[in-house]
């Protein structure tokens, strides 16, 4: 078996070498090691080999060659993904897009940036800043994550409620298809003829094509942004306060929540100045014109106090505003320091169910005897419980995974979803069997076949196979009946 694999690898490498420069092909085991996982290191797999092409033509040639030989291809950006979406396959080629790191053009009048997929999210806003513009989606990993990966995952961030996700902020993609064709999806116009493939491809986890260029929208930097920090002595009160702000007709630019454990972790990590003894804090940012911000900040202040906040502070200056956000954006590494390992979940629930779901998570935490810190996008109802565990303790990883699975199923049960922005990837493939009925999953598979008839692009991720689901359901995990599904589970 191992011999056959080595022979196959050698044959494929020889063909790749015929058109790739020497530095674009990685074969040695030790050199391949950094590619064995993404931002979810609990899952690791060495690829058959890795390629790091320099040009779109080389990407096309690699894909054509793999297509001819029936070799699967897994695309990878900065590998900051949290769902194992870029986990390699033992018999597959890992296609790294790190070298596509140029911003090709910024058009300040049209408010667009044309970028290669390996450009970092934050680099776009930095390059646009001299024009008073920025790229809105800002995932916590924005220093490192790439725009190609953002498209693959439909990445969000802390400003989604007002400014949307990746899908709302891109105009055009250049895509290498499963058979190596180069297609342009969308355009610099606001819509294009035919089906809306731009929306369909966003968040498709590298399973429908490989993104090799992106035209993103840039927005004018708001005249002013003001962040308010509200402390609560009770998590559920904080959750309810979120609804009060929105009911008042204000759509904050960001509305984030952290619970006590997350607050203290952030304080230890970077001292953003949070109230250490609070059970929860809300960070509420309002932005817009000067006048609007003053008015909204005043109203939000009053609303939060009326909703039971023990204290509401406004950032005194830009430095304090940045500090408040730094604490939030560093929450994952901060919690990471408190525990040997942590496991980050990503369910989204209707906002009104936040309190109830947080209570449920608390109960599960006791049941599984694992601590959990909650840091999340409250305005979107997008939860990121961080389960703390120690993988060196026998059984703890399994316990953390089971705990996570229960949180996801709880999210579905209250009318939410198993993933808001991190993607299904390898990690949540079981829970897809719970959220979707067999005909729904079969529709996804048919859609995938339309783009990739031989199943060579990131196969095995995101959409489970029927056999897989029947095994999982046999363990007692049924398709769940969310409240919105009065028909009884999509005819399942």
């Amino acid at each position: 078996m191992a011999e056959r694999r080595a022979a196959e690898r050698a044959a494929l490498a020889a063909e790749l070498r015929s058109f790739l420069p020497a530095d674009a092909l990685i074969e040695e085991t030790e050199a391949l090691r950094p590619y064995e996982c993404d931002g979810l290191p609990a899952y690791r797999q060495m690829p058959l080999l890795a390629v790091l092409p320099h040009t779109v033509e080389q990407v096309q040639q690699v894909v054509r060659l793999c297509h001819r030989h029936g070799v699967p291809v897994v695309a990878r950006g900065a590998a900051t993904g949290l769902s194992g979406g870029a986990l390699p396959l033992a018999d597959g080629v890992l296609l790294g897009l790190a070298r596509f790191n140029r911003i090709l053009e910024i058009d300040p009048l049209a408010r667009t940036a044309r970028v290669q997929p390996g450009v970092r999210n934050l680099a776009i806003s930095e390059a646009a800043a001299p024009h008073g513009l920025y790229y809105a989606p800002d995932p916590s990993s924005q220093i490192a994550c790439t725009i190609g990966g953002n498209v693959a995952e439909n990445a969000g961030g802390v400003h989604c409620l007002k400014y949307g996700l990746t899908v709302h902020n891109i105009l055009e993609l250049k895509l290498v298809t499963a058979d190596g064709e180069l297609l342009t999806i969308g355009s610099a116009a606001l819509d294009s003829p035919g089906y809306d493939l731009l929306a369909l491809l966003t968040g498709s986890e590298g399973m429908l094509g490989i993104v090799v260029e992106v035209l993103v929208k840039l927005l004018p930097r708001p005249q002013r942004a003001q962040v308010l920090l509200a402390a609560f002595d009770d998590v559920e009160k904080a959750a309810d306060a979120v609804g009060e702000v929105i009911a008042a007709g204000i759509v904050p630019a960001g509305l984030e929540m952290m619970d006590g454990l997350a607050i203290r972790a952030a304080e230890e990590f970077c001292a953003p100045g949070y109230p250490r003894d609070a059970a929860a804090i809300l960070l509420c940012e309002v932005d817009g014109t000067n006048e609007e911000v003053s008015e909204h900040a005043r109203r939000v202040h009053d609303l939060l106090l009326a909703a039971g906040a023990t204290e509401v502070r406004s950032a005194r200056d830009e430095a304090e505003r940045m500090r408040f956000w730094l604490g939030r954006k560093s929450a994952f590494p901060a919690v990471g320091r408190m525990s040997p390992d942590y496991y980050c979940m990503d369910g989204t629930v209707p906002r009104k169910r936040l309190g109830e779901v947080l209570r449920g998570i608390g109960r599960l935490s006791e049941q599984y005897q694992l601590a959990v810190a909650n840091v999340f996008h409250a305005g979107d109802g997008n939860l990121h419980p961080l389960i703390l565990f120690d993988a060196n303790q026998p059984g703890e990883l399994q316990r953390a995974e089971d705990f996570g699975a229960e949180i996801l199923e709880l999210s579905v049960r209250v009318g939410g979803t198993i993933t808001g922005e991190h993607g299904v990837g390898h990690e949540k493939i079981h829970q897809m069997c719970v959220q979707f009925s067999p005909p729904e999953l079969e529709q996804f598979r048919a859609l995938k076949r339309a783009f990739d008839p031989h199943g060579l692009l990131n196969p095995g991720k995101a959409i489970p196979q029927p056999k897989h689901c029947s095994e999982y359901r046999a363990l007692g995990h049924d398709v769940l009946q969310a409240p919105g599904r009065r028909d009884g589970g999509g005819g399942a």
Partner: protein, 352 residues
């Protein structure tokens, strides 16, 4: 106000087995759009009613046959709105038809298109299966985004039964400013203003006058008005409604009406006939007898595409023909949802 899910599912399943083409019919307000409908009518207007509306959640779910008028009246009572400001083109306009046509109004370049606000759908595919995608939450990346794919698909991929939309608070106040400009100036300033932190929510140019709508808190409007300049237009809201509904004098014509979707900064497109620029430059309405080929070519030259919106030859292609590899991909996608080709066949393109 009733739920026809079971009946509709049976009808589609029977049509699938018999290979009977179906023509999806909502309120009939947009029969003029797309290629000439054919097939056995499948009436959908009876499948109506708002299923869930919670102002605090900024979400509304309604059956596809619910009229836009009913939905907008309900939202207005809670100080909210459909953010994409859809055209109705008649009192009977339904949510399902609006989704199928994927049309958005003057607010589109600043707030987003219909597809941007779609959170979830329930639909019957071409095999007669009842499916649910997305949901009522703001963020959802489980599985492919089939919900948004339905926007503008003209009912060729599925019979949409129910739609969940994100809604937004209505702006507190608004005003419309008008000023005379040349076409080149108008395109330039519309783009410059869009790149500035102004509360801009609509901008259009009729060949002589530039109209700009600002919305927000009163103090914001005062500051914005100073920057934009021009005269205050009385009954500004009526102007934008008439633009959206194509009731301005510009649209009164017996000639074909074309919609050119182009980059907002594209220079004036030289074509015979008259033009009206909307969407801050990104949507150009053209009333013209010029040959389709000339109009399409001119649109492509500036990086856009042309749609024969009303009138003209509805038996030919009304949407811009797709390059061969793209057409092949879209055909495969159609087959993935509707293998027997029974859902609104030929409504979008001759072959699917």
């Amino acid at each position: 106000m009733s739920d026809l899910t079971t009946t509709l599912q049976q009808q589609v399943a029977a049509a699938y087995r018999a290979g009977t083409p179906l023509q999806l019919v909502g309120g009939g307000s947009k029969d003029f759009y797309g290629r000439t409908p054919r097939g056995e009518p499948l009436p959908l207007a009876g499948h109506s009613g708002v299923v869930n509306y919670e102002p605090r959640e900024l979400v509304l779910t309604a059956r596809a046959g619910t009229t836009l008028a009913e939905i907008e009246a309900l939202l207005r009572r809670s100080g909210q709105m459909l953010p994409f400001e859809p055209p109705h083109f008649g009192d009977a306009a339904t949510l399902g038809g609006t989704l199928a046509c994927g049309l958005s109004g003057p607010r589109r370049p600043y707030v987003g298109a219909l597809r941007d606000f779609v959170l979830g759908v329930r639909l019957i595919n071409g095999r007669g299966e009842l499916l649910h995608f997305g949901g009522e939450v703001m963020k959802n990346v489980a599985g492919y985004d089939v919900s948004r794919l339905m926007a503008g698909a003209l009912g060729t991929l599925g019979v949409v039964l129910e739609v969940s939309l994100k809604v937004l608070p209505r702006p507190e106040n608004g005003l419309t400013l008008v000023q005379e400009r040349t076409p080149e100036e108008a395109i330039l300033v519309m783009n410059q203003w869009a790149a500035a932190p102004l509360p801009l929510t609509a901008a259009c140019y009729d060949g002589l006058r530039l109209y700009v709508r600002l919305e927000g808190a009163p103090a914001t409007l005062t500051a914005g008005r100073q920057r934009v300049g021009g005269d205050l237009l009385e009954e500004g809201e009526r102007f934008w409604r008439d633009l959206r509904e194509q009731r301005l004098a510009f649209f009164e014509t017996g000639k074909p009406l074309w919609r050119l979707s182009v980059p907002a900064t594209a220079p004036p497109v030289e074509l015979a006939g008259k033009q009206l620029i909307d969407w801050g430059g990104a949507q150009r309405w053209l009333v013209s007898d010029a040959p389709a080929a000339a109009i399409r070519e001119a649109s492509i030259r500036v990086g856009g595409a042309a749609t024969l919106f009303r009138g003209g030859d509805r038996e030919g292609e009304v949407f811009q023909p797709l390059p061969a590899p793209m057409a092949a991909l879209q055909r495969s996608l159609k087959q993935a949802f509707d293998p027997a080709g029974i859902l609104n066949p030929g409504r979008m393109y001759r072959e699917f």
